[in-house]
């Protein structure tokens, strides 16, 4: 126990390397449910397996990062309205309030036959039930030139909130007045449908204040804005006249220096390039052979979120093949987690899973630091079709951008962080 506390608290790589050989001693023998990934889906699943089993089932959560960092609200860091540190929540709540063993490590392999996961720093853990919530892998290699440009720190994605978010903010700060920022969006599905449209609004908000001669150009591989289209377009033209240019049906096929190359259209040169490539399920899901939908996303049985390729492995969040109308969002990942956790607790208790699970989604987007629009939906499991469907008549959009919803968006963030990690 003491050694575990020492290793977890150490942080210093030297010390970790020294103790690396005994890393497995941190893992309790009694581990029954193992959760891989402490993001929106995984943290929630770990907590709810504990809650719904009245703290009877042991849970081990494996996550390489020191703390959870929220992608929602991270576009406000680009605007300058927030610090990255304000988006972080530690895993101590899961440890202390819920008795979850949080292991700071990366899962390098899963053996579905032996029911074990292997840790990058050595050792393995056996599970009765495994939950994978590894998020997305950005496929940099699908755009020639992007991997190199990204490795050099020239062309960033900042689509996993963290150091890259701060690096992109620095690039925007260094941009001279009159400079051009270009964001590219891949074909759907990708993480957070409205995220790119929120991002250009908030970068424009910064430019309007700090460098009004600058320009934002959004190249979208899709035929039109994929979420909250009318609300975004109205906000762009009314709040940032002349600052944002939207170019649909532009698919990036290469990067050379500061130039974007497109499938059909002319090349485009910008000062800051922010390229979001095609995405797929996190690496561990792909390598375990679970990505059986177009080799990109994990097919699941929606009643329990068990992978259709491996028994006793439940996959949730952005990594899965979504049912119609289900977005890749943090709120949705949190919803998946609760259905999966209830199904796992049921099964380990010898009960049938809930035959009528429900999922909700609410997604708030900032069009300015104090103005927000939302989209909401409720999804029910339809037994006859073995999928989730949006409940007819439920959900919808904001009637207009407003300040009250900005307060709700911040309240939502605090509550969902506490729901997942508190």
């Amino acid at each position: 126990m003491q050694r575990r506390a020492l290793i977890q608290g150490a942080g210093a790589t030297g010390l970790l390397a020294l103790l690396g050989g005994c890393a497995t001693s941190r893992v309790p023998e009694s581990a029954k449910v193992v959760v891989v990934g402490g993001g929106y889906g995984g943290a929630t699943a770990a907590k709810y397996v504990r809650l719904l089993s009245d703290h009877k089932i042991d849970v081990v959560l494996i996550e390489p990062n020191d703390s959870f960092i929220s992608c929602p609200l991270s576009n406000l860091v680009l605007e300058g309205a927030r610090d990255l540190s304000s988006l972080a929540t530690s895993y101590d709540g899961l440890r202390r309030q819920h008795g979850i063993t949080v292991v700071k490590d990366y899962v390098s392999a899963v053996d579905p036959a032996k029911k074990t996961v292997t840790l990058a720093r050595g050792g393995s853990i056996r599970y009765d039930k495994l939950v994978l919530s590894p998020g997305v892998e950005l496929q940099l290699d699908t755009v020639p030139g992007l991997s190199e440009a990204h490795a050099e720190g020239r062309v960033l994605q900042a689509w996993k909130a963290g150091p890259e978010t701060v690096a992109l903010r620095k690039q925007l700060e260094a941009l001279p007045d009159g400079g051009v920022y270009a964001l590219t969006v891949p074909e759907a599905p990708y993480r957070c449908p409205p995220g790119p449209y929120e991002r250009v609004a908030l970068v424009a908000s910064y430019f309007k204040k700090a460098k009004p001669k600058s320009k934002v150009v959004l190249f979208d591989a899709n035929p039109d804005v994929t979420s909250k289209g009318a609300l975004f377009k109205k906000a762009w033209s009314e709040l940032y006249p002349g600052l944002i240019e939207y170019r649909p049906q532009h698919k990036v096929v290469g990067i050379e220096g500061n130039t974007l190359k497109f499938e059909v259209q002319e090349n485009f040169k910008a000062d800051v390039l922010n390229v979001l490539p095609q995405q797929r399920a996190g690496q561990i899901a792909v390598q375990t052979g679970l990505a059986n939908s177009n080799k990109r996303w994990v097919g699941v049985d929606y009643l329990t979120f068990q992978s259709t390729a491996a028994k006793d492995i439940h996959v949730i969040g952005d990594a899965i093949q979504l049912a119609a109308g289900m977005p890749k969002s943090g709120h949705m990942a949190n919803s998946h987690a609760k259905v999966a956790a209830a199904a796992i607790v049921s099964e380990l208790s010898g009960l049938a899973p809930n035959p009528k699970p429900l999922l909700t989604n609410t997604c708030y987007s900032f069009v300015a630091p104090d103005l927000v629009v939302h989209v909401a939906s409720v999804h029910e499991y339809v037994e006859a079709e073995k999928t989730f469907k949006t409940v007819a008549g439920s959900g919808g959009l904001s009637s207009e951008r407003n300040a009250l919803e900005a307060q709700y968006a911040l309240g939502w963030a605090k509550n969902i962080w506490a729901d997942a990690l508190g």
Partner: protein, 109 residues
């Protein structure tokens, strides 16, 4: 259960023993179903209705009177209480589901 019993490891035996002992895992399927429906509200209203950010109107639901909760949820659902989002979300639940969820929150401290 079959696979658990088929396994001969100590860990599995211990798990089976704890299941047989009953305890918290002996809750019935219906209770678990209502708990997981109520959990769909937690993203905004806090785990088990204990909101940690009530300042923005994201009310704490735990411990509120059941009749009051049903009344408010029904008013949202029927468009009688104005809202930014709750009128859209409540339409996704049947009156029976809303009743069960209200009962769950009312029973929380």
């Amino acid at each position: 259960m079959k696979t658990l019993l088929a396994r001969s490891t100590l860990a599995a035996a211990a798990l089976v023993a704890s299941l047989a002992a009953g305890g918290a895992l002996a809750q019935d399927a219906a209770a678990l179903q209502v708990r997981s429906w109520a959990a769909t509200c937690a993203n905004c209203h806090g785990t088990e209705g204990r909101s940690s950010s009530t300042d923005a109107g994201l009310a704490k639901l735990a411990g509120l009177d059941k009749a009051y909760l049903v009344e408010q949820l029904t008013a949202f659902r029927e468009g009688k209480r104005p809202a930014t989002i709750m009128h859209q979300l409540t339409k996704g639940y049947t009156p029976a589901q809303l009743d069960a969820i209200a009962g769950y929150f009312a029973s929380q401290k």
